[in-house]
Protein backbone atom coordinates (compact mmCIF):
# COMPACT_ATOMS: atom_id res chain seq x y z
CA UNK A 1 0.00 0.00 0.00
CA UNK A 2 1.19 3.51 -0.67
CA UNK A 3 0.69 6.15 1.93
CA UNK A 4 -1.60 8.71 0.33
CA UNK A 5 -3.78 10.15 3.10
CA UNK A 6 -2.58 11.93 6.18
CA UNK A 7 -4.56 13.70 8.88
CA UNK A 8 -3.63 16.04 11.69
CA UNK A 9 -6.22 14.82 14.15
CA UNK A 10 -7.91 17.66 16.05
CA UNK A 11 -10.07 15.72 18.48
CA UNK A 12 -10.57 12.21 19.79
CA UNK A 13 -13.99 12.06 18.09
CA UNK A 14 -12.46 12.92 14.75
CA UNK A 15 -9.74 10.29 15.09
CA UNK A 16 -12.25 7.64 16.15
CA UNK A 17 -14.35 8.46 13.12
CA UNK A 18 -11.32 8.19 10.82
CA UNK A 19 -10.36 4.87 12.36
CA UNK A 20 -13.91 3.64 11.84
CA UNK A 21 -13.71 4.68 8.23
CA UNK A 22 -10.25 3.35 7.33
CA UNK A 23 -9.77 0.51 9.85
CA UNK A 24 -6.82 -1.70 8.89
CA UNK A 25 -5.61 0.75 6.25
CA UNK A 26 -4.83 3.38 8.86
CA UNK A 27 -2.12 3.78 11.47
CA UNK A 28 -1.88 6.24 14.32
CA UNK A 29 1.31 8.26 14.63
CA UNK A 30 2.20 10.08 17.84
CA UNK A 31 5.87 10.50 18.83
CA UNK A 32 6.92 8.63 15.72
CA UNK A 33 10.05 7.25 17.38
CA UNK A 34 9.25 3.70 16.26
CA UNK A 35 6.68 4.08 13.50
CA UNK A 36 8.64 6.50 11.29
CA UNK A 37 11.52 3.99 11.15
CA UNK A 38 9.08 1.16 10.39
CA UNK A 39 7.56 3.24 7.58
CA UNK A 40 10.96 4.04 6.11
CA UNK A 41 12.05 0.42 6.21
CA UNK A 42 8.70 -0.66 4.78
CA UNK A 43 8.03 -2.89 7.78
CA UNK A 44 4.54 -1.42 7.71
CA UNK A 45 2.78 0.20 4.77
CA UNK A 46 -0.46 1.87 5.81
CA UNK A 47 -2.44 3.91 3.30
CA UNK A 48 -3.57 6.40 5.91
CA UNK A 49 -1.65 8.04 8.73
CA UNK A 50 -3.35 9.93 11.54
CA UNK A 51 -1.30 12.23 13.75
CA UNK A 52 -2.61 12.66 17.30
CA UNK A 53 0.07 14.93 18.74
CA UNK A 54 -2.03 18.08 18.49
CA UNK A 55 -4.95 16.75 20.57
CA UNK A 56 -4.70 18.45 23.97
CA UNK A 57 -6.92 15.97 25.74
CA UNK A 58 -4.47 13.17 24.98
CA UNK A 59 -1.59 15.13 26.49
CA UNK A 60 -3.12 15.60 29.95
CA UNK A 61 -1.88 14.20 33.23
CA UNK A 62 -4.85 14.17 35.62
CA UNK A 63 -4.80 13.54 39.33
CA UNK A 64 -8.26 13.24 40.90
CA UNK A 65 -6.87 12.34 44.31
CA UNK A 66 -7.58 8.64 43.96
CA UNK A 67 -6.48 7.91 40.41
CA UNK A 68 -3.87 9.31 38.07
CA UNK A 69 -4.86 9.27 34.40
CA UNK A 70 -2.26 9.69 31.69
CA UNK A 71 -3.43 10.64 28.22
CA UNK A 72 -1.97 8.33 25.59
CA UNK A 73 -0.05 11.27 24.12
CA UNK A 74 1.74 12.16 27.36
CA UNK A 75 5.45 12.21 26.60
CA UNK A 76 8.21 10.75 28.74
CA UNK A 77 9.55 14.27 29.24
CA UNK A 78 6.18 15.36 30.66
CA UNK A 79 6.37 12.55 33.22
CA UNK A 80 9.99 13.23 34.09
CA UNK A 81 9.26 16.91 34.68
CA UNK A 82 6.11 16.41 36.75
CA UNK A 83 6.59 16.35 40.53
CA UNK A 84 3.77 13.85 41.07
CA UNK A 85 6.13 11.14 39.91
CA UNK A 86 9.00 12.00 42.21
CA UNK A 87 7.63 10.55 45.47
CA UNK A 88 6.43 7.01 45.88
CA UNK A 89 5.85 6.81 42.11
CA UNK A 90 9.59 7.21 41.53
CA UNK A 91 9.76 3.85 39.74
CA UNK A 92 7.72 5.26 36.89
CA UNK A 93 9.81 8.42 36.85
CA UNK A 94 12.98 6.35 36.73
CA UNK A 95 11.73 4.20 33.87
CA UNK A 96 10.68 7.20 31.79
CA UNK A 97 13.91 9.00 32.59
CA UNK A 98 15.87 6.08 31.13
CA UNK A 99 14.04 5.97 27.82
CA UNK A 100 16.25 6.76 24.81
CA UNK A 101 17.62 10.29 24.85
CA UNK A 102 16.22 13.78 25.53
CA UNK A 103 15.02 13.95 21.90
CA UNK A 104 13.28 10.57 22.14
CA UNK A 105 11.70 11.45 25.50
CA UNK A 106 10.43 14.74 24.09
CA UNK A 107 8.49 12.91 21.38
CA UNK A 108 7.93 9.37 22.65
CA UNK A 109 4.59 8.78 24.39
CA UNK A 110 3.19 6.44 27.00
CA UNK A 111 0.48 5.36 24.57
CA UNK A 112 3.05 4.63 21.90
CA UNK A 113 5.15 2.62 24.33
CA UNK A 114 2.12 0.43 25.00
CA UNK A 115 0.74 0.21 21.47
CA UNK A 116 4.11 -0.54 19.88
CA UNK A 117 4.12 -3.79 21.85
CA UNK A 118 7.86 -4.11 22.46
CA UNK A 119 8.96 -6.58 25.13
CA UNK A 120 11.58 -4.05 26.19
CA UNK A 121 9.26 -1.03 26.56
CA UNK A 122 10.61 0.77 29.62
CA UNK A 123 7.47 2.36 30.99
CA UNK A 124 5.31 -0.76 30.95
CA UNK A 125 6.65 -2.82 33.90
CA UNK A 126 6.11 0.03 36.38
CA UNK A 127 2.66 0.67 34.94
CA UNK A 128 1.82 -3.05 35.27
CA UNK A 129 3.11 -3.00 38.85
CA UNK A 130 0.71 -0.13 39.49
CA UNK A 131 -2.17 -2.26 38.23
CA UNK A 132 -2.93 0.13 35.37
CA UNK A 133 -6.04 0.02 33.23
CA UNK A 134 -5.90 0.88 29.52
CA UNK A 135 -8.80 2.75 28.02
CA UNK A 136 -9.55 2.14 24.33
CA UNK A 137 -12.18 4.10 22.47
CA UNK A 138 -13.94 3.35 19.21
CA UNK A 139 -17.26 4.07 17.55
CA UNK A 140 -18.55 1.05 19.51
CA UNK A 141 -17.78 2.82 22.77
CA UNK A 142 -15.10 2.51 25.43
CA UNK A 143 -13.30 -0.71 26.30
CA UNK A 144 -11.15 -0.97 29.41
CA UNK A 145 -8.62 -3.71 30.02
CA UNK A 146 -5.89 -4.24 32.58
CA UNK A 147 -2.50 -3.38 31.07
CA UNK A 148 -1.14 -6.81 32.03
CA UNK A 149 -3.78 -8.39 29.78
CA UNK A 150 -3.35 -5.86 26.99
CA UNK A 151 -0.71 -7.86 25.15
CA UNK A 152 -3.09 -10.78 24.79
CA UNK A 153 -5.99 -8.62 23.65
CA UNK A 154 -4.48 -5.68 21.82
CA UNK A 155 -5.89 -2.51 20.37
CA UNK A 156 -8.22 -3.26 17.45
CA UNK A 157 -8.18 -1.62 14.04
CA UNK A 158 -10.99 0.78 14.87
CA UNK A 159 -9.79 1.63 18.38
CA UNK A 160 -7.75 4.51 19.71
CA UNK A 161 -5.67 3.98 22.83
CA UNK A 162 -6.97 6.99 24.72
CA UNK A 163 -5.52 6.83 28.21
CA UNK A 164 -4.10 4.75 30.99
CA UNK A 165 -4.96 5.08 34.64
CA UNK A 166 -3.82 3.67 37.92
CA UNK A 167 -4.65 4.05 41.56
CA UNK A 168 -2.28 6.39 43.38
CA UNK A 169 -0.02 4.44 45.69
CA UNK A 170 -0.87 4.76 49.37
CA UNK A 171 1.55 6.50 51.70
CA UNK A 172 3.01 3.19 52.83
CA UNK A 173 3.52 1.99 49.24
CA UNK A 174 6.46 2.65 46.98
CA UNK A 175 7.17 1.80 43.35
CA UNK A 176 10.69 1.04 42.17
CA UNK A 177 12.33 0.15 38.91
CA UNK A 178 15.70 -1.00 37.62
CA UNK A 179 16.99 -1.37 34.13
CA UNK A 180 19.96 -3.07 32.59
CA UNK A 181 21.02 -1.37 29.36
CA UNK A 182 24.31 -1.50 27.53
CA UNK A 183 25.04 2.15 28.29
CA UNK A 184 23.44 5.12 29.99
CA UNK A 185 21.77 6.85 27.05
CA UNK A 186 19.98 5.44 24.03
CA UNK A 187 20.06 1.90 25.37
CA UNK A 188 17.28 -0.55 24.68
CA UNK A 189 16.61 -2.51 27.85
CA UNK A 190 18.25 -5.88 28.19
CA UNK A 191 15.97 -6.47 31.11
CA UNK A 192 13.96 -4.48 33.62
CA UNK A 193 12.03 -5.09 36.81
CA UNK A 194 9.48 -2.97 38.62
CA UNK A 195 7.99 -3.70 42.03
CA UNK A 196 5.25 -1.96 44.00
CA UNK A 197 5.73 -2.71 47.68
CA UNK A 198 3.52 -1.96 50.65
CA UNK A 199 4.95 -2.27 54.14
CA UNK A 200 3.23 -2.44 57.50
CA UNK A 201 4.60 -0.67 60.57
CA UNK A 202 6.94 -3.63 61.22
CA UNK A 203 8.36 -3.36 57.68
CA UNK A 204 6.65 -6.54 56.62
CA UNK A 205 5.47 -6.61 53.02
CA UNK A 206 1.71 -6.70 53.10
CA UNK A 207 1.09 -6.07 49.44
CA UNK A 208 3.27 -6.49 46.39
CA UNK A 209 2.91 -6.34 42.63
CA UNK A 210 5.96 -7.18 40.47
CA UNK A 211 6.53 -6.94 36.75
CA UNK A 212 9.37 -7.44 34.32
CA UNK A 213 10.43 -6.26 30.87
CA UNK A 214 12.31 -8.23 28.21
CA UNK A 215 12.00 -11.46 30.18
CA UNK A 216 9.39 -12.83 27.82
CA UNK A 217 7.47 -12.04 24.70
CA UNK A 218 5.89 -9.02 26.41
CA UNK A 219 6.37 -7.10 29.64
CA UNK A 220 4.57 -9.15 32.28
CA UNK A 221 3.48 -9.64 35.83
CA UNK A 222 5.78 -11.83 37.94
CA UNK A 223 3.34 -13.67 40.19
CA UNK A 224 5.91 -16.10 41.67
CA UNK A 225 8.01 -13.20 42.93
CA UNK A 226 4.94 -11.63 44.50
CA UNK A 227 3.89 -14.86 46.21
CA UNK A 228 7.35 -15.31 47.59
CA UNK A 229 7.72 -11.78 48.94
CA UNK A 230 4.34 -11.41 50.57
CA UNK A 231 4.56 -11.44 54.35
CA UNK A 232 8.34 -11.10 54.45
CA UNK A 233 10.80 -8.35 55.31
CA UNK A 234 13.36 -7.14 52.77
CA UNK A 235 16.58 -8.80 53.88
CA UNK A 236 19.41 -10.45 51.99
CA UNK A 237 17.81 -13.91 52.22
CA UNK A 238 14.49 -12.58 51.02
CA UNK A 239 16.10 -10.96 48.02
CA UNK A 240 17.94 -14.18 47.20
CA UNK A 241 14.68 -16.08 47.49
CA UNK A 242 12.88 -13.62 45.20
CA UNK A 243 15.70 -13.96 42.65
CA UNK A 244 15.38 -17.77 42.83
CA UNK A 245 11.64 -17.54 42.25
CA UNK A 246 12.14 -15.30 39.24
CA UNK A 247 14.89 -17.49 37.80
CA UNK A 248 12.69 -20.55 38.00
CA UNK A 249 9.92 -18.68 36.18
CA UNK A 250 12.43 -17.46 33.54
CA UNK A 251 13.88 -20.92 33.00
CA UNK A 252 10.47 -22.17 32.00
CA UNK A 253 9.59 -19.16 29.86
CA UNK A 254 12.88 -18.67 28.03
CA UNK A 255 13.76 -22.36 27.68
CA UNK A 256 16.05 -22.90 24.69
CA UNK A 257 16.70 -19.19 24.16
CA UNK A 258 20.36 -18.28 23.72
CA UNK A 259 19.89 -15.23 25.96
CA UNK A 260 18.69 -17.24 28.98
CA UNK A 261 22.08 -17.84 30.69
CA UNK A 262 22.92 -14.13 30.37
CA UNK A 263 19.55 -12.92 31.60
CA UNK A 264 19.55 -15.46 34.42
CA UNK A 265 22.79 -13.98 35.76
CA UNK A 266 21.94 -10.36 35.01
CA UNK A 267 18.58 -10.50 36.76
CA UNK A 268 20.25 -11.10 40.13
CA UNK A 269 21.54 -7.58 40.58
CA UNK A 270 18.67 -5.92 38.77
CA UNK A 271 15.99 -7.42 41.00
CA UNK A 272 18.22 -6.84 44.04
CA UNK A 273 18.56 -3.17 43.13
CA UNK A 274 14.81 -2.82 42.67
CA UNK A 275 14.00 -4.41 46.02
CA UNK A 276 16.78 -2.70 47.98
CA UNK A 277 15.91 0.71 46.63
CA UNK A 278 12.28 -0.08 47.38
CA UNK A 279 13.21 -0.80 50.95
CA UNK A 280 15.46 2.23 51.37
CA UNK A 281 13.14 4.68 49.73
CA UNK A 282 10.21 3.84 51.98
CA UNK A 283 11.93 5.95 54.59
CA UNK A 284 12.48 8.83 52.21
CA UNK A 285 8.92 8.96 50.98
CA UNK A 286 8.01 10.45 54.30
CA UNK A 287 5.04 8.27 55.10
CA UNK A 288 6.55 6.35 57.95
Amino acid sequence: MTLNQVYNGNSIDEVVELLGKYGKEAKIVAGGTDIVIALKNEKISPRVLIDITKIDELKKIEDDGEYITLGAGVTFTQIVENDIFHGNLRGLYKACRMVGSPQIRNKGTIGGNIANGSAAADSIPPLIALGSIVSLVSSDGVREIPLEDYYYDQVRDNELLRSIRFKKPKDNQVLNFSKLGLRKALAISRLTTAVLLEFDENNIIQFVRAASGALGKYPMREIEVEEYLLGKKIKNETIDGAVDALQIAMDERLKGRSTLPYKRTAIVSILRETLESGNESKNEVGAW
Binding site: N8, I37, K184
Partner: protein, 158 residues
Amino acid sequence: MVNIGLTVNQKLFEISVDENLRLIDLLRDKLGFHGTKEGCGEGECGACTVIMDGETVNSCLVMAFQANGSNITTIEGMEKDGKLHPIQQAYIDAGAVQCGFCIPGMVLSTKALLDKNSHPNRDEIREGISGNLCRCTGYNKMLDATEMAIKYMEEEKE
Protein backbone atom coordinates in the same frame (compact mmCIF):
# COMPACT_ATOMS: atom_id res chain seq x y z
CA MET B 1 0.37 15.63 -1.60
CA VAL B 2 -0.70 17.54 1.47
CA ASN B 3 -0.54 21.26 2.18
CA ILE B 4 1.18 22.34 5.35
CA GLY B 5 2.35 25.55 6.93
CA LEU B 6 5.18 25.86 9.42
CA THR B 7 7.55 28.44 10.79
CA VAL B 8 11.25 27.78 10.43
CA ASN B 9 13.70 30.23 11.97
CA GLN B 10 10.85 32.73 12.32
CA LYS B 11 9.91 32.57 8.69
CA LEU B 12 6.58 31.12 7.59
CA PHE B 13 6.59 28.47 4.87
CA GLU B 14 3.51 27.14 3.12
CA ILE B 15 4.29 24.13 1.05
CA SER B 16 2.79 21.04 -0.49
CA VAL B 17 4.59 17.86 0.57
CA ASP B 18 4.51 14.12 -0.08
CA GLU B 19 2.57 12.21 2.56
CA ASN B 20 5.58 10.05 3.38
CA LEU B 21 8.11 12.88 3.59
CA ARG B 22 10.02 13.18 6.84
CA LEU B 23 10.71 16.51 8.54
CA ILE B 24 14.45 16.18 7.86
CA ASP B 25 13.80 15.78 4.12
CA LEU B 26 11.47 18.76 4.15
CA LEU B 27 14.06 20.92 5.89
CA ARG B 28 17.00 19.83 3.76
CA ASP B 29 15.64 19.06 0.31
CA LYS B 30 12.61 21.37 0.09
CA LEU B 31 13.50 24.33 2.29
CA GLY B 32 17.29 24.32 1.90
CA PHE B 33 18.26 24.08 5.58
CA HIS B 34 21.03 21.60 4.95
CA GLY B 35 22.72 22.37 8.26
CA THR B 36 20.41 19.68 9.61
CA LYS B 37 22.35 16.42 9.12
CA GLU B 38 21.26 12.83 8.68
CA GLY B 39 23.67 10.46 10.40
CA CYS B 40 21.66 7.33 11.10
CA GLY B 41 18.03 7.82 10.11
CA GLU B 42 16.70 6.16 13.24
CA GLY B 43 17.05 8.54 16.15
CA GLU B 44 20.30 7.17 17.54
CA CYS B 45 22.85 9.82 16.58
CA GLY B 46 21.06 13.15 17.04
CA ALA B 47 22.77 14.82 14.04
CA CYS B 48 19.30 15.76 12.73
CA THR B 49 18.23 17.46 15.97
CA VAL B 50 16.08 20.56 15.58
CA ILE B 51 14.05 22.47 18.13
CA MET B 52 10.34 21.96 17.50
CA ASP B 53 7.91 23.98 19.60
CA GLY B 54 10.55 24.51 22.26
CA GLU B 55 11.82 20.95 22.52
CA THR B 56 14.56 19.07 20.72
CA VAL B 57 13.41 16.35 18.36
CA ASN B 58 15.13 14.03 15.92
CA SER B 59 13.84 15.39 12.61
CA CYS B 60 14.34 11.95 11.04
CA LEU B 61 11.59 10.61 13.33
CA VAL B 62 8.97 13.25 12.60
CA MET B 63 6.75 13.14 9.52
CA ALA B 64 6.68 16.41 7.61
CA PHE B 65 2.89 16.65 7.87
CA GLN B 66 3.15 16.37 11.66
CA ALA B 67 5.08 19.64 11.64
CA ASN B 68 2.01 21.46 10.30
CA GLY B 69 1.57 24.55 12.48
CA SER B 70 4.87 24.04 14.28
CA ASN B 71 7.61 26.45 15.09
CA ILE B 72 11.04 25.11 14.28
CA THR B 73 14.58 26.31 14.91
CA THR B 74 17.44 24.85 12.90
CA ILE B 75 21.14 25.64 13.19
CA GLU B 76 20.68 28.37 10.57
CA GLY B 77 18.38 30.18 13.00
CA MET B 78 20.96 30.52 15.75
CA GLU B 79 22.80 33.54 14.39
CA LYS B 80 21.17 36.89 15.13
CA ASP B 81 21.93 39.96 12.98
CA GLY B 82 25.05 38.35 11.58
CA LYS B 83 26.36 37.61 15.06
CA LEU B 84 26.97 34.10 16.31
CA HIS B 85 24.90 32.84 19.23
CA PRO B 86 27.10 32.65 22.37
CA ILE B 87 26.85 28.85 22.24
CA GLN B 88 28.22 28.80 18.70
CA GLN B 89 31.03 31.18 19.68
CA ALA B 90 31.87 29.04 22.70
CA TYR B 91 32.03 25.88 20.59
CA ILE B 92 34.58 27.60 18.37
CA ASP B 93 36.57 29.06 21.27
CA ALA B 94 36.65 25.82 23.25
CA GLY B 95 37.91 23.85 20.26
CA ALA B 96 34.84 21.63 20.45
CA VAL B 97 34.47 21.37 16.68
CA GLN B 98 36.25 18.62 14.78
CA CYS B 99 34.61 16.89 11.81
CA GLY B 100 31.57 19.05 12.46
CA PHE B 101 28.83 16.67 11.40
CA CYS B 102 27.38 16.38 14.89
CA ILE B 103 27.78 20.07 15.66
CA PRO B 104 24.45 21.50 14.43
CA GLY B 105 22.52 18.95 16.49
CA MET B 106 24.89 19.31 19.41
CA VAL B 107 24.55 23.11 19.45
CA LEU B 108 20.73 22.88 19.33
CA SER B 109 20.67 20.34 22.17
CA THR B 110 22.89 22.66 24.17
CA LYS B 111 20.52 25.54 23.46
CA ALA B 112 17.46 23.54 24.51
CA LEU B 113 19.26 22.54 27.70
CA LEU B 114 20.26 26.11 28.58
CA ASP B 115 16.76 27.38 27.75
CA LYS B 116 15.40 25.08 30.48
CA ASN B 117 18.30 25.23 32.92
CA SER B 118 20.57 28.25 32.66
CA HIS B 119 23.25 26.87 35.03
CA PRO B 120 23.55 23.14 34.54
CA ASN B 121 26.39 21.25 36.23
CA ARG B 122 28.65 19.00 34.16
CA ASP B 123 26.50 15.92 34.74
CA GLU B 124 23.43 17.81 33.62
CA ILE B 125 25.26 18.99 30.51
CA ARG B 126 26.25 15.41 29.73
CA GLU B 127 22.63 14.38 30.14
CA GLY B 128 21.51 17.28 27.95
CA ILE B 129 23.68 16.18 25.03
CA SER B 130 23.30 12.44 25.64
CA GLY B 131 21.15 12.10 22.53
CA ASN B 132 23.90 13.45 20.29
CA LEU B 133 26.76 11.23 19.23
CA CYS B 134 30.20 12.57 18.42
CA ARG B 135 32.69 10.11 16.95
CA CYS B 136 35.69 12.43 17.10
CA THR B 137 35.34 12.00 20.92
CA GLY B 138 34.96 15.65 21.69
CA TYR B 139 32.48 15.41 24.56
CA ASN B 140 34.77 17.01 27.14
CA LYS B 141 35.37 19.97 24.89
CA MET B 142 31.62 20.26 24.45
CA LEU B 143 31.17 20.41 28.21
CA ASP B 144 33.86 23.12 28.32
CA ALA B 145 32.10 24.93 25.49
CA THR B 146 28.78 24.83 27.31
CA GLU B 147 30.32 26.24 30.48
CA MET B 148 31.98 28.92 28.40
CA ALA B 149 28.65 29.70 26.71
CA ILE B 150 26.97 30.15 30.09
CA LYS B 151 29.64 32.74 30.93
CA TYR B 152 29.22 34.51 27.58
CA MET B 153 25.46 34.67 28.05
CA GLU B 154 25.85 36.15 31.52
CA GLU B 155 28.25 38.77 30.19
CA GLU B 156 25.80 39.60 27.45
CA LYS B 157 23.08 40.26 30.03
CA GLU B 158 25.26 42.68 31.98
